[in-house]
Symmetry: D2
């Protein structure tokens, strides 16, 4: 299972002293970038800028389970649940020292950035993602 | 039905020329602020800082239907779907010139910022929200 | 003198209850967008995407004079101080109900987005900016 | 000399493919957090939340020397230039593989978060910062 981590920064925290939830999606996008680079073998720079392939998020479901505070180190785990012709459903969990913070399911679509249309996953990406898929 | 609008700024747009989705949640939070101030009768400043009542988002479901581009003016409509003892489910739609962009359902919880625990909606807020509820 | 306004949102405010300063630069960039669209006659969408002309900021000086709080309505005034062959120095002030909040001087450069090199201001932009210049 | 590093993320990059400058200030604030924690010996969490001491930025000067792109790893170096009764001037440079990207001078003020007034640096912070000061 792929994991990465990030620290709750002053920039993430609201007047109530907890993470302002839109900041979780910046962390989430960063974790998906790390997953692509480290577990799929393709950085966002080479994917988007070199190959002109994007992976926009088309669906999100999120349960915010407990608040996070300044200085918390969040562990983010990513597991692909399904891999379609041109989509991929990911389960992502954020936790801190083993305690759950949020749980996300998101659907990415593989997109041709020239036409802005969905395209089948390139074979190298499919071959890298498929073995990671874990039934929900 | 409550509506507000916002413009897609340079700050919102990614290298593919479309809104980077975490920015939609900043717009969403701003629209919920407008709804509280204009349709519920309580600004976030007086609610959070004066009354020490917060309204964190505990659940989100989002369908991204079509991309938005720099300069688009987005109309954001908010309808409460259910009003519980201490929660409220909202449906929020973003559109541009009548074309759908995203659809969100979110659940807010009324929280005592001193104890960081859920609390029943204060009567004035309940009285303002209840007449707006539209069955899903 | 060109002015625009923006409201301090929950998204802008830090755990100390005041605007987190990087958020001022998002507001500043939005105000410069408004100035281009309303006072120079060219939206960022048409300038960047249509004409492939960018206006990156190459220098900034900022004095933070007093903190801003959730709900404050900030008036932002923009005055060009000098207009060079391919640069423009702007003075920008943020105030709330007449009280100063920050003062910025920034230098923009007109850039050809194809070559990523400075270019002379197009004549229509120069003609629109020149009459607004006020000696510092 | 204190250094930390950060990677240019999709979240940082604008439609022209380069870092949107307000994002540099989020990186800058994160680097100053790292400096406080690692080189001054006090995390922002313990400083702000525990001791109720803030360090707002009151002045900034920035030269943007060259653009940064998606995937660049930026090295950020921080050197204190002067240490006053309740202020500190820092020089911060961002570079990528040795090439300069931006140069910042900023002035922090030590602030009592209860009164929102400047206060003398606590002795432990002064003792940790003073030996790092390098005349400009």
């Amino acid at each position: 299972m792929f994991t990465t981590s990030t620290k709750v920064r002053f920039a993430h925290v609201d007047p109530a002293g907890i993470v302002f939830y839109p900041r979780y999606f910046e962390m989430l996008n960063g974790a998906v970038e790390d997953w692509f680079e480290d577990a799929v073998g393709q950085s966002f720079a080479s994917l988007h800028l070199g190959r002109k392939v994007g992976t926009p998020t088309v669906h999100l479901e999120v349960d915010f389970q407990a608040p996070s505070r300044l200085g918390d180190v969040l562990e983010i785990a990513i597991v692909p649940l399904t891999l379609g012709e041109s989509s991929c459903r990911l389960a992502v969990t954020f936790s801190c020292a083993g305690a759950a913070r949020l749980r996300v399911e998101l659907v990415l679509v593989c997109m041709d950035l020239a036409s802005h249309r969905a395209m089948p996953w390139p074979e190298d990406l499919r071959a890298a993602i498929a073995p990671q898929v874990v039934a929900a």
